[in-house]
């Protein structure tokens, strides 16, 4: 009975995807629709193996990841610094907090036309947009983590006569680490989405988002589907890796 249950769930789970793919392929082979326009599982596989073999898929993903990292390298530190300052300074929070939370309400992509106006349509604009997208999750998580640092820990720092820099570095930031790690995890997810969006809306260049738009313009549905899957897989890997790093970090700190 237990063995029957063990294979039942994966078998049921495979049922719908397999049925969908089979229907799609059979309909394509039977000439129900124009395979030139609509693609079929076979043409998608062929496109996948072609883009993998000529290296264009890996090249595009690599270009996008570099852009993503450049944006993260700006947005994450700024988020850390602003979040820490707002958490430590009540005046700073009173002055800036409401303005920042109002700015945050503006839908992310609304900023694209303005950023392209100020920084141009090329790489600086794209990277600035990615940096902006990852700034808020890091800032909010840092602020919450630092503010939530146990008051008793601050008391300890005080009795040890640590300077404010020492107490920040040795006591407060380590206590805020779990929250900061969660914020950076979220920033990785946002950063990847912002990278794809930036490649759609700013000038075309190397990158998986641009490749998707090119495929669309050429009505190459097979290429577009390959690109979609690549975007989803990279996003999933980033998420999984960030989650694993987060757990390792917290474990090594004994949390």
């Amino acid at each position: 009975m237990r063995r029957a249950v063990a294979w039942r769930t994966p078998a049921l789970g495979a049922l719908l995807p397999l049925a969908l793919i089979a229907t799609w392929q059979i309909a394509a082979s039977a000439g129900t629709f124009d395979v030139g326009l609509w693609a079929s599982p076979a043409t998608v596989l062929r496109a996948a193996s072609a883009t993998v073999r000529d290296g264009s898929l890996a090249g595009d993903v690599w270009a996008s990841l570099q852009r993503d990292v450049a944006g993260l390298a700006i947005g994450v530190p700024v988020g850390l610094i602003v979040g820490t300052l707002l958490a430590l300074s009540r005046l700073g929070d009173a002055l800036l907090g409401p303005s920042l939370s109002a700015v945050r309400q503006v839908a992310l992509f609304t900023w694209v036309p303005l950023i392209s106006l100020w920084l141009g349509n090329d790489e600086p604009g794209k990277i600035a947009f990615i940096a902006y997208a990852v700034f808020f999750p890091v800032m909010l998580a840092t602020q919450a983590g630092v503010r939530g640092a146990d008051p008793q820990l601050r008391e300890v720092a005080r009795t040890l006569c640590l300077t404010s820099w020492q107490s920040l570095r040795r006591v407060i930031l380590p206590a805020a680490l779990p929250s900061i790690a969660a914020g950076i995890h979220l920033a990785l997810v946002y950063g990847w989405l912002a990278t794809i969006g930036a490649e759609y809306l700013f000038s075309a260049g190397p990158g998986i988002g641009s490749a998707l738009m090119t495929g669309r313009a050429q009505f190459r549905m097979d290429q577009v589907i390959v690109g979609m899957v690549a975007i989803a897989v990279v996003g999933m890997l980033l998420n999984v890796l960030a989650g694993a790093a987060e757990r390792r970090l917290l474990q090594s700190r004994g949390l």
């Binding site: 039942r8 769930t9 049921l12 789970g13 495979a14 719908l16 995807p17 969908l20 326009l37 609509w38 430590l88 300074s89 009540r90 005046l91 009173a94 002055l95 800036l96 907090g97 409401p98 303005s99 109002a102 700015v103 309400q105 503006v106 839908a107 992509f109 609304t110 900023w111 036309p113 303005l114 392209s116 106006l117 720092a157 005080r158 040890l160 006569c161 300077t163 404010s164 020492q166 107490s167 989405l193 794809i196 969006g197 759609y200 809306l201 988002g209 998707l212 738009m213 495929g215 669309r216 009505f219 549905m221 577009v224 690109g227 979609m228 899957v229 975007i231 989803a232 996003g235 999933m236």
Partner: protein
């Protein structure tokens, strides 16, 4: 004063106090005053910078020009017609996406067989961001209304589906036992135990879904559109009418803000009313 001096005797504490500028606990009026300093001085600097021609209007138009552009947009009817179109898209797209999300999430949350069948398919579906769907959908759908509704629907579906499934799955086992004790039949169990128990999580999903729908609307109107409030910013940018672009951005911000606030308010009220007893 003596307390202040006592703290100052300890160097670290003094540094901490200096960090927060020793600001006293302030009332709501003081808080509002402080909150307005940054935007007000920003506006003043913006105004002076444009008046003194430190920045060209091609980089940053004057605040008065933006206000005038906003008035023009409102008076000519462009604002209401485009905003109306956009809101209609959000409502319809969200309606479709949320309905399918509720159905799929409910099925997965209530039946183990449905969960086994749907889980792998829907979880891999959810992995693909709506941004990646847009180019694919554009091939058969073009840039018409269907594309927008599909993109917005997909973006709303994800959080609604995930939270509905989670909400039903996470109903406290103790509550379910109460149902068994009362010999409830299945509809009674759903109606009196599972639904009230899942409701708070379900509302969270709906709120997140509407927020996502609004974000997706802006994306799809920037990428592929010929009307709507997002498109107003695009066309203004292309025509170098930057005052109009900023005015439309302002409208998007204000609408998004009101949407978020009213949803949080509604969620708090509904959870208080329905979820409080079961949770």
């Amino acid at each position: 004063m003596t307390a202040q001096a006592g703290i100052a005797a300890r160097p670290a504490a003094a540094a901490m106090a200096r960090w927060s500028f020793g600001w006293p606990r302030s009332g709501p009026i003081a808080a509002a005053f402080l909150a307005l300093i940054v935007p007000a001085s920003g506006l003043a600097i913006w105004r002076i910078a444009t008046q003194q021609a430190w920045v060209t209007p091609l980089m940053l138009p004057a605040p008065d020009a933006v206000a005038a552009a906003l008035r023009d947009l409102a008076r000519s009817g462009d604002l209401t017609s485009n905003l109306g179109l956009s809101l209609r898209r959000v409502v319809l797209g969200f309606g479709f996406g949320a309905a399918i999300g509720l159905a799929a999430g409910g099925a997965m949350g209530l039946s183990r067989t449905a969960e086994a069948m749907l889980r792998p398919l829907l979880l891999s579906f959810v992995q693909v961001p709506v941004l990646a769907w847009i180019p694919l959908l554009m091939i058969p759908l073009g840039i018409g209304e269907t594309l927008k509704l599909a993109a917005i629907g997909i973006s709303a579906f994800t959080p609604v589906f995930l939270n509905t499934a989670k909400g039903f799955r996470n109903v406290a086992p103790a509550l379910i036992e109460v149902g068994t004790l009362y010999k409830f039949n299945w509809p009674q169990r759903v109606r009196h135990i599972l639904l009230p128990g899942a409701l708070p999580t379900l509302f969270t999903g709906l709120r997140l879904g509407l927020t996502q729908a609004w974000q997706a609307l802006i994306v799809v109107e920037l990428v592929a559109s010929t009307d709507g409030i997002g498109y107003v910013t695009v066309i203004a940018r292309q025509m170098f009418q930057f005052d109009q672009m900023l005015a439309a951005m302002l409208v998007i911000g204000v609408v998004g803000f009101c949407l978020d606030r009213s949803l949080r308010f509604a969620e708090a009220r509904l959870v208080h009313r329905f979820g409080g007893a079961a949770a």
